[in-house]
């Protein structure tokens, strides 16, 4: 039970995890040097941490905990540069983006930790296909009850986060026609989806213990939900974002999440509603498929709206909270991008159209990741 004791953290603090692609420069396919890279990085003193992920072609960059997403930008740039420095020695390049455009999943090799070996043993090819790259945003919660509340109300905004971060238009060498194809790889897992409609932390624990009693799960990590409480950190974790092409955009997304959570926790404009889960699959699909141009059903107003417009309207509402948290400028920057119709997925497609091959797309994504801004 101890792992489920909700370790309350300072409310509305923010931190991110970014899964990154390791790329080999001779053909821009995925490399498998996570182990060597981590061994080198282990000798450095860095804020946060860099960790292994399910296959040897990825590493996960964890930020430290921040009171405002504004200070996240500098830290992520520092860590990014340190990773790049060590990667250069190994002739490995790093890229953001939710998927590698053309790698063959069968070529991937599992990072040999006990947990990952268990995942492969259990899930077979799903584990190797899980070589997709996401950003997770953690928001600090004062209690488990707040975490459950936020998980329910933030589900309304899942399409926002998908559309804002979408950066996986290519998969297995093909244009998927989706803006984010990554989530499809996640949805294949039997425990993907969303938290059940529980009222509070006590009820959640009851649910968890039943699932554990059935032998379906062993720990919270077994749930691959879009939004999931993380009692160990005392946070709620938004897991639907693709890793963006720059660390700056990762910080912008964190700023939006932070201000959104602040608005909901402090003003409580919405109460959890089952209707959210009725429309969730539709909204999620629209966001994956069409991005900002998709339409979503607002479960509270019971009407359809364009995802991009809904984002802009929401940003206007949360502006005072963003300003108070010191990340108003970041949310503004994100809004300007939405107005201009920018997205990482569109950028990747434009590079493909201009250069003609997916290897070129990966190379340019690497170059973009290396640059500040």
């Amino acid at each position: 039970m101890d792992e489920l004791a909700f370790g309350a953290s300072a409310p509305l603090t923010v931190g991110v995890e970014l899964e990154l692609q390791l790329v080999r420069p001779h053909d821009f396919d995925l490399a498998r040097d996570a182990d060597e890279l981590l061994r080198r990085l282990g000798k450095r003193k860095l804020p946060g941490a860099v960790k292994p992920e399910i296959t040897e072609s990825m590493v996960e960059l964890n930020s430290s905990v921040h009171a405002s997403a504004a200070t996240l930008v500098d830290e992520l740039e520092t860590v990014r540069d340190a990773v790049l420095q060590d990667a250069r020695v190994l002739n490995v390049r790093i890229a953001g983006g939710g998927s590698h455009p053309f790698h063959d999943w069968a070529d991937r090799r599992i990072y040999p930790t006990e947990r990952f070996m268990h995942v492969v043993e259990r899930y077979g090819y799903l584990a190797k296909q899980f070589t997709v790259f996401g950003q997770h945003i953690h928001i600090g919660c004062a209690s488990g009850d707040d975490a459950v509340f936020l998980a329910h109300v933030l589900t309304r905004y899942v399409p926002h986060f998908i559309a804002l971060s979408a950066a996986s238009p290519f998969y297995q060498g093909e244009d998927t026609s989706f803006q984010s194809s990554r989530l499809t790889a996640v949805s294949a897992f039997p425990l993907a989806g969303h938290i059940p409609f529980v009222r509070d932390w006590a009820e959640f624990l009851e649910y968890f213990m039943r699932m554990k009693g059935f032998g379906i799960v062993a720990s919270m990590k077994d749930f691959y939900w879009d939004i999931r409480p993380k009692p160990e950190y005392g946070t709620i974790e938004i897991r639907v974002c693709d890793t963006p092409l720059t660390v700056r955009r990762a910080a912008l997304l964190a700023a939006y999440a932070q201000a959104l959570a602040a608005w909901h926790l402090e003003e409580r404009p919405l109460e959890p509603s089952r209707t959210t889960y009725l429309v969730n699959s539709h909204n999620r699909f629209e966001a994956c498929r069409y991005g900002l141009r998709g339409t979503m059903v607002d479960p509270y107003a019971s009407r359809k709206t364009a995802i991009g417009e809904d984002i802009l309207a929401t940003m206007a509402k949360i502006a005072p909270h963003a300003a108070r948290l010191g990340c108003g400028a970041l949310v503004h920057e994100l809004a300007a991008g939405v107005r201009a119709g920018d997205s990482d997925a569109a950028w990747l497609r434009a590079r493909h159209a201009a250069r003609g091959s997916l290897a070129d797309v990966v190379r340019e994504a690497c170059t973009r990741w290396e640059k500040t801004g």
């Binding site: 080999r24 420069p25 001779h26 053909d27 821009f28 490399a31 498998r32 040097d33 060597e36 061994r39 080198r40 250069r88 020695v89 190994l90 002739n91 070529d107 090799r109 250069r355 003609g356 091959s357 290897a359 070129d360 190379r363």
Partner: protein, 401 residues
Amino acid sequence: MATEYLPRLPLAFSQAALFGALVIVGLAAGEALRRYASLPRITGYVLAGAALGPHALGLISDDMLFDLRPLVDLSVGLIVFELGFRLDFKWLRANRWLLVTAIGEALFSFLGIFAVMVAFDFRPVLAAMAAAVGTATSPGTVLLVAHDLRAQGQITERLLLFTAVNSAFAYVLLTLLLPFLHFEHQASWQQAFFHPLYLLWGSLVAGWLACILMLRLAAWLGKSEERQFILMVGMVVVTVGIAHALKLSVSLALLTLGMLARNLDRGYAVLPVHFGHGSQLFFVILFVLVGASLSFSAFSAAAAAPVAALILVRFLGKGVALLGFGPLSGIRPGGAGLLALGLLPLSGSAVVMVRDTTLLYPAFGRELAAVVLSAVVILELIGPLATQFALRRAREAHPDG
């Protein structure tokens, strides 16, 4: 009754039939060794060649070997081109210790072999040429074993890089040693001066010109893997032919072509093409022919000591440099030793090198061959095993590879 429609005995087989038969026999032998003894396929190709060759069953005669030389050149050309294409100047710039390690590894093994050969009373020219040839790791063996095991990772990448650097080192050094060879044979100073100059610059310029043409054509053809694959094979074949016609070094010209195609391609016109199945065909035929030309008769009790010493100092030279500089270039602990093992193969390209450089003085060629080729026989057999062991031990071989 007229029987003109029947063939006459003995049957006259075409080159094509011979080629096909050798490929199939080599392939089967490689697969058998792989399956039943877990040995590298390449060892099977070599053994098949040795068994069929003039020194054993005699199904491949010396004449046939001579006729099939263009195939050997072509195969070596494709291999060194692919190797050159893997040599990334950017990596060497970003990681200076890597360059130091690569050059140190080549230099130490050269000096080691040279010293040992002189100690065994070989003439300095002969000792130096043998040392230069001995410095190079066999590009074909390393590429083939890495490909066969589907190896991937730092040790594999460095193995290929060091092989490219020590091959380039060997080719250039052999050329620079030519004046001494000429002096030994009382050639004119013009010949001693201009021959290496012609050979070195000629090969580099040929490779460079071919590269420029290839980059232009690749840009014009566009990003189609199929078309670019054909372009690359075509360019390699024609460059081999031109280098041959101009009496240049095929290996140096092709290594230059590969290296420059990778590193001069500012506009990223060339796609990263893997030769894949196409090059496998050439790998098989090359190593069958290498096996057939192995001269076991080169062995003699008298040669055993210098050859054993050559193999040992070559390994030690590589090992010392790798252990000394390797860690500074970011090789993981234990990786340097594995790399020294992986770099052990010496083979087909050495045969070609010996032949190419001593065309003018066949007597000297035979002398050099006697020293080098016995080492080749031994390393041809244990080299692939060493490379396979190193890549497996480094955990870079694919579990199913």
